[in-house]
């Protein structure tokens, strides 16, 4: 069965722990779902890591300069809006392999563990405080253990079924063209970026009144 079908929730959000803008999406999405009284499902996606602005050279063409301007703009956006949420983020440009963490994420989720959101909140916080490496098995098991979530069962699952489950999930996302974070899925619609939250709220509330534009 598809991971999506196993969820069957009101709002599904795809996040990548390595992307700052995904971290900025986590708490507002959870808050929106709570306000609207709908179930929310969080799932992992592996997006392209953020690229730092390149050093300028006299021979840079317009495309190179364009990408540098964009990279600076994204960094400013992260800094500005993280501060507005009271979040501190360090090391925007790290890109560890997130698969080990994704296995833990899928495990917590398939158990329908109510602690999934606090689990993710702590993982994202620790990652952005440079305290957590999502590619490190010990770090990931330590995180699972800190949530008192039967770490021995997790350890066995993460070595047996976990990798295949994570691979299947990653393939399913690629087949569906879902490769970016944050992505919101609601009523067959796909939204990339938390700027769509007013539209998502409008949909969750039954599309009453004028749309949010």
């Amino acid at each position: 069965m598809s991971v999506f079908e196993a969820g069957n929730r009101g709002l599904t959000v795809l996040l990548d722990i390595r992307l700052p803008l995904a971290y900025l999406a986590l708490h507002p999405a959870a808050a929106l779902a709570e306000e609207c009284g709908v179930e929310i499902d969080f799932l992992p996606v592996t997006d392209s890591p953020l690229k730092p602005p390149s050093e300028p050279f006299p021979e840079d063409d317009r495309g190179v300069r364009h990408r540098r301007h964009r990279a600076h703009a994204i960094a400013r956006e992260i800094e500005t809006y993280a501060a507005a949420q009271g979040l501190a983020l360090d090391g925007y440009y790290r890109s560890p392999d997130p698969t080990t963490f994704h296995i833990a994420w899928l495990w917590m989720r398939q158990r329908r563990d109510a602690r999934l959101v606090p689990f993710l909140a702590e993982a994202f916080r620790a990652y952005w405080a440079l305290e957590f490496d999502p590619s490190n098995r010990k770090d990931v098991e330590g995180l699972v253990e800190s949530f008192d979530a039967e770490v021995d069962v997790f350890r066995e699952w993460s070595r047996a079924q976990g990798p295949a489950r994570a691979d299947e999930w990653a393939e399913e996302l690629i087949e569906r063209g879902l490769t970016r974070a944050p992505t919101y899925l609601i009523e067959d619609e796909v939204f990339v970026g938390r700027q769509h939250l007013p539209m998502i709220r409008w949909i969750l509330e039954g599309r009453v009144g004028a749309g949010p534009i």
Partner: protein, 233 residues
């Protein structure tokens, strides 16, 4: 960073809000009404400036036939995926307000339309606003060929813009001014549209309008998050 902020402030000049737009960007099209509504709500003028995107330099290039099939292309799969999502996203927001956004079949050189914006702007803010309202809808319905100066002149007339002298402006001073405005903006870090210059900040995308409003309002209250949302209702 301070050097960059100084550059933005110089670029903005005395205008409280400068907005860069390009006719061939559906996101710029979608930004016009909420930007006007936001500015009207707080009672400030907007200085609109053309910024002609050089799309092939960062997003590859392609030409499609009438059925949307690529005839020539220099785009990667991920670039295509991004472009398709962008049009789908723009279309669903446009649909909410009864506007049409049809995918373009080629990457237009919209510099002539940018020069027409500069021409209309010289005749006053109201004239410029009328021109925007006349030029965007038919272009996005694929009813306006912006490579054709006669078609642009017709649109200027429809917007009640004086067209006498436009052709020589387009071939001379207008082209020079357009290129200068574009290069100054790009050198300062403008890379997309809509881009907002406000206070000592620069933002790309209408999702930053809540912050633009917050900055123009004296930074009172909690700084808002990004949001595509309505203003003035």
């Amino acid at each position: 960073m301070k050097e960059r902020v100084d550059t933005w402030q110089r670029l903005r000049g005395d205008s409280p809000l400068v907005v860069y737009i390009d006719l061939k960007s559906p996101y710029a099209y979608l930004a016009i009404e909420p930007t006007r509504a936001m500015a009207s709500e707080i009672g400030i003028p907007i200085e609109w400036r053309p910024f002609t995107l050089d799309i092939p330099s960062y997003l590859g290039s392609a030409r499609l036939d009438e059925k949307g099939k690529a005839v020539t292309e220099k785009r990667s799969a991920s670039q295509w995926s991004g472009v398709k999502y962008s049009y789908m996203d723009a279309r669903r927001y446009a649909n909410l307000t009864g506007r049409t956004v049809r995918g373009t079949i080629k990457i237009w050189d919209s510099s002539l339309a940018g020069i027409a914006m500069l021409w209309a702007k010289r005749q006053g803010a109201d004239v410029f606003d009328r021109f925007l309202d006349e030029v965007y809808p038919p272009f996005w319905r694929r009813e306006l060929d912006i490579d054709d100066i006669e078609a642009l002149e017709h649109t200027l007339r429809e917007a009640r813009v004086e067209v006498e002298g436009f052709r020589s402006f387009a071939a001379g001073d207008g082209r020079v001014e357009h290129d200068r405005v574009n290069e100054e903006a790009f050198d300062a870090g403008v890379f997309g549209v809509p881009t907002y210059l406000v206070a000592d900040e620069m933002w790309f995308g209408r999702e930053h309008l809540p912050r633009v409003q917050w900055l123009l309002g004296g930074r009172a209250g909690t700084p808002p998050d990004v949001a595509n949302r309505a203003f003035g209702r």
